[in-house]
Amino acid sequence: MNTTALLLSRIQFAFTITFHIIFPSFTIGLAAWLTVLEALRLLTGRPVYRVIFDFWLRIFGVAFGLGVVSGIVMAFQFGTNWSALSQMSGPVQGPLLMYETFTAFMLEATFFGVLIFGRSRVPPWLYLFSTAMVALGTTFSAFWIMVNNSWMQVPSGYVMENGVFVPDDWTKIIFNSVVWSRFPHMLLASYLTGAFCVAATGAWYVLRKEYHAESRIMLRMGLGLAAVLIPVQLFFGHLCGGYVNTYQPSKMAAIEGRWNDEKPAGEVLFAWPDVENRRNLYAITLPPPFGSLIDSDSFTAGETGLNSIPPENWPPVVIPFFSFRIMVGCGMAMLGLAWLGTYLSFKQRLERNRLLLWLTFLSFPLPFIAILTGWFTAEVGRQPWVVYGVLRTADAMTPFLTTRAATISLVIFCAVYAFIFLFGTFYIYRLIRTGPVGQLFETPRLAVPNPRISLSNTEQIFPEHTHAGAGE
């Protein structure tokens, strides 16, 4: 066993999947929002919806492209770096990812092409249908990924035969409480990401006094959706905590910073876990039975502490402990913003409240941070297992992987990803800064002067701010 190659492989997987998830989590929400916009336009006939649609479609195009290219890597990395895992769990994980590809990717890819290039080639209903199919495809993809990952968190429905996971009950693998609390949690997180990016963009334009009609629609729809969804999200988050408590005591103990078994248990709000001496420094703790109440919905339940788990089965305690708190903190901040913003919006005072507009504008990283830290909690908290309780990460690696190969691949991954990420985010920033330049009134299509291949050369078609009046 080559421990350096193992460490490098883990860093590489963490890095590539962290990079990847940023884009799908954004595009899943955005695809659903685009479908709503296109449907609204067909129903109401208001051109402003078309302007907003075209604007966000341009951004969607860039983010979707980055998601696609970084996603293909994931389909290969199980085999390149984790061949022992992929051979053992292939009979379970392979079919799940096959269904993901079959049901989601081709659907997305085909109708994405229609979305970007086919506006003039298909009737309006087929265009709306294409938008809905892209949204459906992204949702299917999220579903199968959550089934797959949930099986790694809580393996079920299999028997071991000759060192291979042989599935014997697919209903247990797909229809279990773990999947059905984690899948909605992820889906809602994506919708919230979309909602906050849209609201933040709207807030920016309101602050800049630009795109009057568009900015208000973005701001209100974004904050309003978030105001409704965040409470639901908190509920599903609580359900996810429930599965961790039931099936993954070591992860739960790390998240809670709980060293000793307690019955009923207290709740550590903030602390610095001192792993060496098995204690928390600077702890702020709620007394019992708050811990039992939060973890087990009970006043009296006993909760497991790390001391009753062998240290070789501990996750790196500090990471899940803090990442969980950062996730919850982001969630609470978003809840406050969304509720306050929606309340002010009902009172017709939102546009005058510059502080809240600034906060909304600056809030766009929050959903991304929440998603990443949530995944860090789930994945790092699962360690040292790759399939919880059955297969250790150290035993899952390609046995003959050398440090040299792992170093080369990690370095080039970092270089290429940094390169495309910098340009990608810069181009998205520039698209947003330029704004929804377009006309509020549709012109005949033949009037478009030059062929457009990518969405983005609308920048050239409508040079700087030929915005045709904000008030419709």
Binding site: V68, V69, F76, L97, Y99, V164, P399, S456
Partner: protein, 327 residues
Amino acid sequence: MVTFWILLLAMSILLYVLLDGVDLGVGILFGFTNGEVGRGAMLSAIAPIWDGNETWLVVTAVILWGAFPVVYAALLSAFYLPLIVMLLGLILRGVAFEFRYKTQRMRWIWDLSFAGGSLIATFIQGVTVGALVEGLQVTNGQYSGGDFGWLTPFAALCGIGLCLGYALLGACWLVKKCDAVVRDVAHRQIPILAVGVLAFLVLVFIYALAEHLPILRRWIDRPYLFVFPAIGAVAAIVLALSILRHNDRWPFYTVAVIFISAFGTLALSFWPYIIPFVITIDEAAAPRSSLMFMFWGGVVVFPLMLTYTLLSYGVFRGKVGTRAGNY
């Protein structure tokens, strides 16, 4: 059930080679093209379909993982570095479609990443096939060839051969989809590339004879295999005729037939092995419960995927830029 999945796997690989082969080939030729008009037209010819085409690579990977996990684990780990370089090539190729239209000043970067990414990805795909034909070094059921064991002169030759092959496929697609200068240039490139591919095939044959590659023995044992090269030869003759007659549609279909016959030749000379002379298809198959679960995906969703593919080719049929709205 195993036969069903090996057929689906073969179909996915073939579709990937034919469809993304076009994109990668256009990418390679893109590097030899100057001027925004030509480059723009070349991109338009593949922009709406490349993403779907590339998806067949993922389809291949996941069928391999689900139906033949042993092979997925063995091949992907053995080809560690080349696969990762290929993926990065595909990434650079993929982002270029959107990114190059975001900038004027920096466009050369994305043009370079488009052509370079296509070239790298193609070369490595060829190298991989070449290394498989030559045989991987395996000890006690585990790959033992080292980090660069796949890099042999023969594999490199196959890499160059596939670059020529994809470029030929791409040129034929451009003739089919484009007008004016782009079509005429591609028309002139086809005979050169076709001769290049032919020379490559002759070289491979000589090399195989000289090195007594194990695959050659199978050809002597199974003379009926020659039906595929025969089909390929007929297609090559039709290709030559269609070039002489300046036909826009036939070159693409004949080159596709040549690719199919080459693929058939290779697949049948591997049979019944899935990694030549190491693991057979039956040994590699996943447990029955996995294959049965996947079956519905294979009979219901796979045809749906083919339908989407046909749909998008239908929506974007015809020559680029001849209709209003453009793409």
